[in-house]
């Protein structure tokens, strides 16, 4: 199979670049601050979903702890931001790296397990982290290691980068960072780690036999997912300013799993769809006056639907459905295939 370069790829790149420019420059002018904030969250949670997307789609590992890792990343970023005067990009990078280290260390012993056991143990680890965070709370400008203070003024918000203080500016900042992180993930997928992961997902024993260091590459995948969640955590902390444990519940982890599945795990675009499902849909439903519970039910149905009929999720299904629709429309308007015409 030779890689097809040329007009096909070029067109796609062009479209992606155009879309990105539109998101950065066009959208902020068109939408109110509320929707800009929603889209910022969509971008952040896309990155979180990206981590899980890579783990599930490329390596075949399910982690129910990605939201807990996000919480860790947010905590680390907030603590660094309050304790030091480091510029925001450094804080992001540091929180990504530290979260990556933590995620890898925690993940290392668990990697001996696979499949259902791994998923369940990540659920257990997530539960542990949640309980610890309920006890420590999130840094809000207080002193001491935990940096948490209990006052009736509500604590201080985490500072944002000086070039992106306003909501629209921070939105652009987030989109740029998210785009970079997607590129990072794409690089991984297209090069050696990606090939190793594909081999592992196909058959771990066979990969081992072929000389692939499965433990290393599985760990690498966990490290990548944790890094992504760590940076996303920093962006989240900067975006909302004040953090609470409620946002990082086990229910959120299950919802993340649902949306990642529904978005599609075999394409990186699925992560973007997942982010939109997770944060844009609730906002839309609220705007239309529909209850948020409807979404929970829909996600439940979505999981079932994806597992039964469309393992590739929406990212795979949508182009196919559009293609089918296109063909159907074509037949409707009489521009049938040559065979059909010849049959007349």
């Amino acid at each position: 199979m030779r890689a097809r370069l040329g007009t096909g790829d070029g067109v796609r790149l062009g479209v992606i670049a155009a879309l990105l420019l539109f998101c950065l420059l066009g959208l902020p002018g068109m939408l109110s601050t509320y929707w800009i904030d929603v889209l910022t969250l969509v971008a952040i949670y896309s990155v979180v979903a990206l981590g899980l997307n890579v783990l599930m789609g490329r390596v075949g590992l399910v982690s129910l702890g990605q939201i807990a890792v996000l919480a860790l990343g947010a905590w680390i970023a907030a603590r660094l931001s309050f304790a030091t005067g480091l510029p925001f990009p450094i804080v992001l990078l540091l929180s990504g790296v530290l979260t990556m280290v933590l995620g890898t260390v925690i993940g290392l012993p668990a990697l001996r397990l696979s499949g259902l056991y791994l998923a369940l143990i990540t659920l257990m680890l997530a539960g542990t982290i949640t309980v610890v965070l309920t006890a420590t709370n999130f840094p809000n400008g207080g002193s001491g290691f935990l940096g948490y203070t209990d006052t009736d003024q509500g604590g201080t918000a985490m500072r944002r980068p000086s070039i992106a203080e306003t909501d629209p500016a921070f939105y652009r900042y987030t989109v740029v960072v998210a785009a970079v992180l997607f590129l990072v993930a794409l690089w991984h997928v297209r090069s050696k780690p990606g090939r190793a992961w594909a081999a592992i997902r196909q058959s771990e024993p066979a990969a081992l036999a072929a000389g692939v260091n499965t433990t290393l590459y599985k760990l690498w995948a966990f490290a990548l997912a944790s890094f992504l969640a760590g940076v996303a955590g920093g962006l989240l902390a900067g975006s909302v300013g004040k953090l609470f444990t409620f946002q990082f519940s086990t229910r959120e982890s299950i919802l993340l799993l649902a949306v990642v599945l529904m978005g599609g795990i075999y394409s990186l675009w699925g992560a973007l769809v997942a982010g939109a499902f997770m944060k844009l849909l609730p906002a839309l439903l609220d705007d239309w006056g529909l209850p948020a519970d409807l979404l929970t039910i829909l996600f439940g149905v979505g999981i079932l639907q994806v597992l039964l009929t469309a393992p590739g999720g929406l990212a795979q299904q949508f182009p196919r459905d559009m293609a089918k629709l296109g063909r159907a429309l074509g037949r409707l308007f009489g521009r049938g295939s040559p065979a059909q015409e010849a049959a007349k």
């Binding site: 509320y34 904030d37 209990d150 004040k242």
Partner: protein
């Protein structure tokens, strides 16, 4: 392979959906929304079209339907699995509907937009901006959220919004632009503590749910109990509680015989602890107190007669079957305009907030603008109602605890009844002392 969009494989999904829909309809038909249950009392007559003669009036009370350009107001409330505060703004809305049927605000109707949030700070921040910048509401009233005050108070100060709501987070009481009709967990727990101290407890356990703000909340109890010479043990429980037996046992053990336990939890959690204590036979070893969330007939009913007269609940609002004019109007408005909302402190708070807002709006001279409405909210003073012990006010102080005088109630026969009449929350709590001082200097006697 002629599967049309994989229909055959979709069949299970469709089957399941059909089952769910069928079940929901079954449940909806025979017993879903539990709100009209025993909480409201057994034999209630069907809604009377006009309020009783001695009830207050909705706004102008002239029976004329309001028309014209609406006056927009907004609210943000928590609604997620496990926490639902929408009853409060929904009751405010019910009152606004009544006002709209009775002359509106000098003829104009109120348009009220309620936004729900799921304890996501980003969402809270953007909802506030949505209300004020996109929807262009003139005032914010009825907010009830676990984190909203903390997230948005700076924004309110920036924009000059004076928000009237039901406070939960400490920031709802300690910041200049927010005033609540209730007292909040800290001062309400102090009130319950005072009630138990009056019962002569030798040692106190203060047990609360482990949500942000526990240190701030327990400060009040600590200071007031210490002043009365009673030691306090502070406990925290993660909610939802899975092992209420152990929690109740721990609390009773720490209090010791003849001690007291003050609980600060939402009603479902408090119910678990109290029931666990009773089932294990620990109930009579200590005296039990509860902050104001326990003041709901729903809880009284669920507890049953074993707890009659045995629970000292601090009540920021009067009992729901009080026969004062405002309380009567409250019940009538609820029956007619919001029949699904149960009687209880939540709906009472929403009602009072609505009444305060309307009262303020009716006082506005000139155009209804963002500035004039918020100015009116801020200048509210001396608002009397039989649902609160003392007249309510906003004012321009740096902190706001306008409701600082409370009753004590207790369950009896499935309802909450008054046990102790209005008493001031102890000013040994510095927060209260500050507020009392401001009151003395700024309000009339």
């Amino acid at each position: 392979m002629r599967k049309f969009f994989g229909w055959e494989r979709l069949r299970p999904t469709v089957a399941l959906l059909a089952l769910m829909v069928g079940l929901s309809m079954l449940v909806a038909a025979c017993g879903d929304d539990d709100d009209e249950g025993s909480a409201g009392g057994g034999a209630q007559t069907t809604a009377a079209p006009k309020p009783a003669a001695n009830a207050s009036k909705c706004g102008l009370g002239n029976g004329k339907k309001a028309a014209g350009a609406p006056i927009k107001l907004g609210a943000i409330a928590t609604k997620q699995p496990g926490t639902d505060f929408t009853d409060i703004p929904n009751t405010a809305k019910a009152y606004f509907d009544c006002v709209n049927d009775n002359g509106g605000i000098n003829g104009r109707p109120i348009a009220y937009r309620i936004e729900t949030e799921q304890t996501d700070p980003g969402q809270n921040a953007s909802l506030a901006r949505k209300l004020i910048e996109s929807e262009k509401v003139l005032g914010v009233v009825g907010n009830t959220s676990i984190i909203e005050c903390a997230v948005n108070h700076k924004y309110y100060e920036q924009k000059g919004v004076y928000m009237i709501g039901s406070g939960i987070a400490p920031a709802c009481y300690g910041t200049p632009n927010i005033a609540a009709v209730n007292m909040g967990p800290r001062y309400s727990s102090v009130g319950a503590t005072q009630a138990l101290i009056r019962q002569g407890v030798k040692k106190l356990v203060f047990d609360q749910s482990n949500v942000p703000g526990t240190g701030y909340i327990s400060e009040g109890v600590e200071v007031v109990a210490k002043d009365a010479g009673v030691d306090v043990v502070h406990l925290k429980e993660n909610v939802p509680i899975q092992d209420a037996n152990s929690v109740a046992l721990k609390a009773v053990q720490q209090a010791g015989d003849g001690g007291g336990v003050v609980l600060n939890f939402t009603p479902p959690e408090a119910l678990k602890i109290l029931q666990a204590a009773q089932r294990q036979g620990l109930q009579n070893r200590v005296k039990w107190g509860c902050s104001t969330p326990c003041n709901t007939d729903f809880l009284a009913d669920a507890l049953g007669s074993a707890w009659d007269d045995k629970l000292f609940v601090n009540a920021e609002l009067n009992v729901t079957d009080h026969d004062g004019p405002d309380s009567t109007l409250y019940r009538d408005v609820l029956k007619k305009y919001a029949p699904k909302v149960p009687l209880g402190s939540f709906s009472q708070m929403g009602f009072v907030e609505g009444r305060i807002a309307v009262d303020a709006l009716l006082k506005v001279k000139g155009d209804y603008t963002f500035e004039s409405v918020n100015e009116a909210f801020k200048n509210m003073e001396g608002f009397k109602t039989d649902i609160l012990c003392k007249p309510w006010y906003f004012g321009d102080g740096p902190t706001h605890v306008p409701n600082n005088t409370d009753w004590t109630t207790t369950p009896k026969g499935g309802k909450m009844v008054i046990k102790e009449d209005c008493f001031p929350i102890s000013d040994k709590d510095p927060g209260i002392a500050t507020v009392r001082k401001w009151e003395q200097e700024n309000l009339g006697a």
